[in-house]
């Protein structure tokens, strides 16, 4: 390989060195033993809540065909511990830090974004408006376009750093929610969080995860996510971060062709700890093979 392929991508004012980052909740500081954090596009820690909270009952994960259900909930040490420990730990690395925020009300989203969105070590915020594990039978902010709009607009007022709205796929029209987030001031959209799902052990008749329902991730959901990325790209010009079932470079390329500018990798890291850097390498190989000079040239090139 002689050619210098351009892999950098932009999310609002932020430039990432390459389009591959971890999915929130499937990445932790301890993984540095297995993975060179300085090679990835950005660091995205587990979603943080304002107050410490315990998460859900165990068992918290179970396996399904080509996927897994998690009902971790947001086990969190709260904002103070995050500021004191998590941010310094991650800002030691040479890549942008994107904080994922989970909150129980719009006010709380605003309050947390005010703190984190004005912190010198944080480069962007991902607003997890989609976590299906919260109380309320899986209901989430991101299921309602008006709520999404209001939430984004209010958060937009308190910070200037790029805002990424992480959408939920458990909606009738991802386009409506995407448009609302765009209008509300989002700089990018993560498409999407997990599909609300359930599995039952037929011997015990008990749900396989403690919280009854949980979020489905992994290759099983990829065709749904590719569809939503494509649909979202039709209605907004915002950069899209594809998420859900990326196991290898080919999956990432598929999402990019559908309309994504970047991808997140979650479950794959549980199987191969170096999945993130493997995906980057495989994207690079694809660019070589197809002589693509700039990864941005591939975004949305699906031939209809």
């Amino acid at each position: 390989m002689i050619a210098q392929r351009k892999m950098g991508i932009s999310i609002g004012s932020l430039t990432l060195p390459n389009p591959v980052m971890p999915a929130s909740g499937a990445f932790g500081p301890e993984m540095h033993e297995a993975l060179d954090f300085n090679q990835i596009g950005a660091i995205v820690p587990k979603s943080i809540t304002k107050h410490p909270q315990p998460g859900n009952d165990t068992p918290r994960v179970c396996e399904t065909y080509a996927g897994m259900i998690n009902s971790i909930g947001i086990q969190s040490k709260g904002l103070d511990a995050y500021l004191a420990k998590t941010i310094p730990e991650f800002s030691a690395y040479d890549v942008p830090l994107i904080s994922s925020i989970s909150a129980e009300s719009i006010d709380e989203f605003v309050e947390m974004s005010d703190v984190l969105g004005n912190h010198p070590d944080i480069d962007a915020l991902e607003l997890n408006i989609s976590c299906p594990n919260l109380k309320g039978d899986g209901h989430a902010f991101g299921m309602d376009a008006d709520v999404t709009y209001e939430l984004m607009q209010r958060v937009r007022k308190v910070t200037d750093i790029p805002l990424i709205a992480k959408l939920t796929p458990n909606v009738t029209s991802i386009q409506e929610i995407a448009k609302a987030a765009d209008a509300g001031g989002a700089d990018a959209l993560t498409v999407a969080n997990t599909m609300l799902a359930m599995a039952i052990d037929t011997e015990s008749r008990k749900p396989m995860v403690g919280n009854v329902m949980g979020g489905l991730s992994g290759p099983a959901v990829k065709p749904i996510m590719v569809r939503m990325i494509y649909q979202t790209a039709q209605v907004t010009d915002l950069p899209i971060i594809g998420c859900g079932g990326v196991m290898n470079g080919n999956d990432a390329i598929e999402m990019i062709i559908a309309g994504a500018s970047a991808v997140q990798v979650g479950t794959a890291s549980f199987i191969t700890p170096t999945a993130l850097t493997d995906v980057i390498e495989e994207i690079r190989e694809y660019m070589d093979r197809h002589d693509i000079m700039d990864i941005n040239d591939l975004t949305g090139t699906v031939e209809i």
């Binding site: 033993e33 587990k46 918290r60 396996e63 897994m68 890291s269 199987i271």
Partner: protein
């Protein structure tokens, strides 16, 4: 050390009705392995099963540079693991977690293990044998056939007692009286347990009563086994307060008295 290793399988054989035994060549692995640690193993190359499965190290052969696993064939994952053949490669992530602490002051220890917990405590019995610590083990299982796999504990010099459902000897009361007898008769220094909630509670009770230290190896459903996903949590009670810990990262071995058994 969270590292993925692709290592040669030396043997993989059925040792009783439900149990299999696998030997791995670790000559290309530098990490030191301690009893009580585990590996997160990819049981097949198929899309399903999908997640790795955690297995304790059953036996560590430092001279031959091999390790052994003893596993119960339970579901899809372990069924697929039985299909791996000598000469093929095992995909292991680890060694992971913290193992047992065998205090140099201990002369006499008592292990109580149930089911696959036997595999976990075997490596400790081996270590005890190596260090000249006398070791008694009460092994509990469904059937005598299930215990066949555990005969090696005797090779390590442990005195082994069997209790089974089959013989109706595995009730908590029966195990309790055996434990009391051994603790008192042999002047046991520490208790170790794995594999059963009922036996864990019993161990906690007797440890408190006799003022003995002890350790417990926990099993929890795991996702990443790298501390990232918070799937494998349990609570420790410390100074009256509950603290959530990740079994994969901070365990799987914990102080007996601290673990909150749900």
């Amino acid at each position: 050390m969270m590292k993925q290793h692709l290592l040669p399988i030396l043997t993989n054989v059925q040792v009783s009705e439900r149990y299999w035994h696998m030997t791995i060549d670790t000559s290309n692995m530098n990490e030191r392995i301690e009893p009580g640690q585990f590996f997160h193993i990819r049981c097949s190359d198929n899309a399903f099963p999908f997640l790795r499965r955690p297995f304790s190290i059953y036996r560590i052969n430092r001279e031959e540079d091999t390790i052994e696993f003893l596993y119960l064939v339970k579901g899809e994952g372990t069924k697929d693991l039985t299909k791996k053949k000598p000469g093929e490669t095992a995909d292991l992530l680890g060694p992971l977690g913290y193992g047992f602490k065998l205090d140099p002051g201990f002369d006499e220890i008592l292990l109580t293990a149930r089911g696959v917990g036997i595999a976990t405590l075997a490596a400790l019995a081996q270590e005890a044998g190596r260090k000249g610590v006398r070791c008694t083990a009460i092994l509990s299982a469904r059937s005598k056939n299930d215990l066949l796999a555990a005969e090696t504990l005797q090779d390590f010099g442990a005195e082994v007692h069997h209790v089974t459902e089959e013989e109706e000897t595995s009730g908590v009361e029966s195990v309790e009286s055996q434990m009391r007898d051994i603790i008192e008769r042999k002047d046991v220094n520490a208790l170790y347990t794995c594999g059963s909630r009922r036996l864990s509670r019993l161990n906690q009770r007797l440890a408190a009563e006799y003022g003995l230290p002890g350790e417990i190896a926990l099993e929890e459903q795991m996702g990443c086994a790298m501390g990232a996903c918070f799937a494998c949590v349990c609570d420790l009670e410390e100074e009256g307060k509950h603290r959530s810990v990740r079994v994969c990262l901070e365990g799987p071995v914990f102080p007996l008295e601290k673990v909150v058994i749900s």
